[in-house]
Amino acid sequence: MKGGLGATLVAAAMLAGCSSAKVYPEVRPANLHVRTETSPTQVRAEIHIHRVDADCRTQYEGTVPLDRPVVELGVPAGRTSVVAVTFSTSSMLRGSRSSVRYATLLTPRAGHRYDVKVTYRENLYDVVIRENDPRGSSSRQLARRDPAQCKAS
């Protein structure tokens, strides 16, 4: 039993060490409010931000772990970014790791707040983004914009 726990910790440390994720910098204002619900809790959810230039080339900017029920981060307004959420699980028994990714293009508008609801329940995942106007008087759900459909401007 102790050996099993030891092996798990070593594996976890190795996985953490192998991670190529970089910490997403603090951007103000924090216009993305991410609410996460995962079940089982062993699912690791993360949000990744990539800058998108006029030629649709992307540049990875960083990752924020969604390890709390509510996480806030800032995504620059007036510029398009790829917002991607990954759900990762690993099974020591099966010796396998898996990860599934949801990605969308997002161009935040100045002063607007974006509520992102991230769920993973019984092997079904969903990411819903709502845009709220500065006065909070109106809100609309944003349709996913497939990054593969990005058109150079």
Binding site: S98, N123, L124
Partner: protein, 172 residues
Amino acid sequence: MFQHKSRLMLTGVALVLAGCNMAPKNADEFRQATRDGVRLGVASVETFEVDRSLRDVSSALQRKASECLNVSVNWRATNTYGNTRGGVHTYKPTFVANASKAELHVQRKRSGGGDVDVGAPPDGFYDVVVDATPVTPKRTRIEIYQGDKLMRTALRGWATGSNLGCPDLTKR
């Protein structure tokens, strides 16, 4: 356990059919093969009705299929001896609709990891086929041919509008 047994039997039937070059090559053949499988107790067709118009159901199936099923799943597994193998499963959803019917066909092409899809159509074996037909202007009948529990749960959620989540296809 039952599900595992049933899948093994279905795989066996598929292999026999593939060996005879009889694997379903299109959605119609897949429906027929599934009906035949139902008679043998190795396949199933799930039928239910939803209180939504065909248009709403059709639009949800199209949108969610494009969002969730147009994917490639890379898998990798290591056995207890430390041997690792991996491969790719590429899913292809095809949506077809007219005023009186909507259809969603999902194919899965497997490559690598020792997977050999003998006799499969170019985009892979049919995995699941969904038909939606109107019962009344506000009620629609759904038929799901085959598919595993996860896929069916997702398709049911899209059809009813109760859960628009994507299936985590790495869990199949």
